[in-house]
Amino acid sequence: MTTQEQVPLAPGGPGPLPDEVLRAEHISKHFGAVTALRDVTLRLNRGEVLGLIGDNGAGKSTLLKILCGFQQPDGGRILLNGEEVTLKSVMHARSLGIDVVYQDLALVNELSVYHNMFLNREEVRWPLLSNRLMRRIARDHLDEMGVNIPSVNVPVASLSGGQRQAIAVARAVFGNAKVLLLDEPLAAMGAKEVAMIIDLIEDLKRRGDVSIIIIAHNYGQVLEICDRVNLLQHGEITLDKLSQDTSVQELNDIVIAEYRRALDERQRSA
């Protein structure tokens, strides 16, 4: 287990700070005998970009699923703008302004960009879709967010990975998300695409009304984009530092130390 002195900020402080938009306190989650999250306390400030890093199996995905309402925690509580909330479902969390962009993006390849932007909140003049209106709003919104695509009419299948990611993020913001959870937004992307997404996130930061939690593997990218990083190990947050106060080197060292420990344990038991 990683030692406590690596935690410079005590995240489980007495109460929510005024600029805290989201706070998860003492979250735990078990799947049968497996403990995915032991005791996680995490806060997200307004307008902040928080990087959540950690090994495979550290509990990142579980934490994300709990924060977006997909799963319910076994223990602990979630505060949104200082008020305790129970996130019953993804839809419920979304209605409260917490939205998630999964790795698979939840885009429908065969549908046009604007139909994807409006998926499940279409503009309708019953019984017909108001395609023209949706097209115009989608185009305006994407322009405003600086997302560059050839046309909102093209099927999403014809876009690049970065463009698709941008569409998924834009859709969440378009849906009035105030807390945005991004699962590996930069995975499997070329440099140009990464730059495009970083640009998009910078834009969101400037808007100031959207707070973001990013799950990522690449520490360099995380420190580039995020204001603060939290390291999740064995279902607990073991490091909480401002990006400027840590380095790729430090993060790597922690993880390598963990590999060493795991290796030692294996050799001992062998």
Binding site: Y102, A106, V108, E110, L111, E122, N131, N153
Partner: protein, 356 residues
């Protein structure tokens, strides 16, 4: 304003960048009328349809181009395929299939028949009961597939057998005529002689247009495509995918029942050996010829309608040419393959042309 044809491409993803309405893009200016046409999903199958009609029309003008043959081809052969194909297109797009629809076709008129002869239900109500049978059977298919989680291919083979067995048992494997008292209640579904002999064609056209709009211009259509293209994503977006699939099974069941009841009136015969796998296969082939993906996510109802015309033209045309039933199967199978190969290859050319 976007026209209907344009939105087909958009919704179903048939058009490429700038296709249809690249609003003022320079490219658009260079796109010839032919180019716009070729971008539409249905274009290739339309070419095949017209070519077949021309071939049979020119080689057998005296028999092919007649009112009698028009009724044969369009009302008797094409309409049943087209109507059932509507249901199969919706199911295929959302990632399912209904193998049992031909047995719903068998069973529905039997329910109507029994209601009239054994339970003295008024004929008009009995017709409606027959049609509702299809909706209920579709719901059962939906329940087994969506709620119980059985793959639709197997689930609907099972329900198909049950319906077939019920049909044979109830009718003691013997066909019966439609009760004469019911004829006036069913003529609007189609009976021989003018004008009602055109009714099946009219039903097919109206239903095709309605469901074309449903698929391309309504939420139901978008969600059907979403369910087949990205099931998990559709769920994550909060779409009730199960409801969509249930609904499409019920629509397909209704279409099967409609064709079954129609055919019973048209042939004045409630036959427990009518229907079966053949109408289902024709409908699925029509859907696929018309550009519906077997793996879900895309397809068009207009395309399936053209596919139904292709199949009906082949059946009817070869029949007129006097080719006997045995070798007809060889020619028919070959023609289906040729139509499909042409369709696939033309689509490939179309994609290549788009990326230039």
């Amino acid at each position: 304003m976007s026209g209907t044809v344009e939105s087909v491409g958009e919704v179903v993803g048939g058009t490429g960048p700038g296709g249809g309405n690249g609003r003022g893009s320079a490219r658009q200016l260079f796109v010839s009328g032919l180019g716009v046409f070729a971008r539409q999903r249905e274009a290739t199958v339309l070419v095949v349809t017209v070519a077949l009609l021309l071939y049979f029309g020119l080689s057998n003008a005296s028999t092919f181009v007649t009112q009698v043959n028009a009724v044969d081809l369009l009302s008797e052969i094409m309409a049943p395929i087209a109507i059932i194909a509507i249901g199969e297109v919706l199911l295929l797009i959302c990632g399912e299939i209904d193998i049992s629809v031909g047995f719903i076709y068998t069973f529905a008129p039997i329910v109507m028949y029994v209601a009239i002869t054994d339970y003295h239900v008024p004929a008009a109500l009995a017709v409606i009961l027959g049609l509702l049978t299809g909706v209920v059977a579709g719901w059962v298919n939906g329940f087994i597939v969506v709620t119980l989680g059985v793959p639709s291919f197997i689930a609907t083979i099972g329900t198909g057998f049950i319906l077939y067995g019920l049909a044979l048992t109830i009718m003691h494997a013997t066909p019966e005529g439609v009760p004469p008292s019911a004829m006036s209640s069913g003529k609007w579904l189609g009976i021989p002689g003018n004008p009602w002999q055109w009714a099946p064609l009219a039903w097919a056209v109206v239903l095709v247009l309605i469901f074309h709009v449903v698929l391309t211009r309504t939420r139901w259509g978008l969600y059907t495509i979403s369910a087949g293209s990205n099931l998990l994503g559709a769920r994550e977006a909060g779409i009730n995918v199960g409801r969509i699939k249930y609904g499409n099974f019920m629509i397909c069941g209704f279409m099967g029942a409609l064709v079954g009841v129609q055919t019973a009136f048209y042939t004045n015969n409630v036959d427990p050996s009518a229907g079966g796998y053949t109408p289902m296969f024709y409908a699925v082939i029509a859907a696929v010829i018309g550009g519906t993906a077997m793996l879900g996510g895309s397809g068009t109802i207009l395309g399936a309608f053209l596919g139904a015309i292709v199949l009906a033209t082949l059946t009817d045309g070869f029949d007129i040419m006097g080719i006997s039933a045995n070798p007809l199967n060889i020619i028919f199978g070959g023609a289906i393959l040729v139509a499909m190969i042409a369709n696939v290859q033309l689509a490939r050319l179309r994609r290549a042309g788009r990326s230039l």
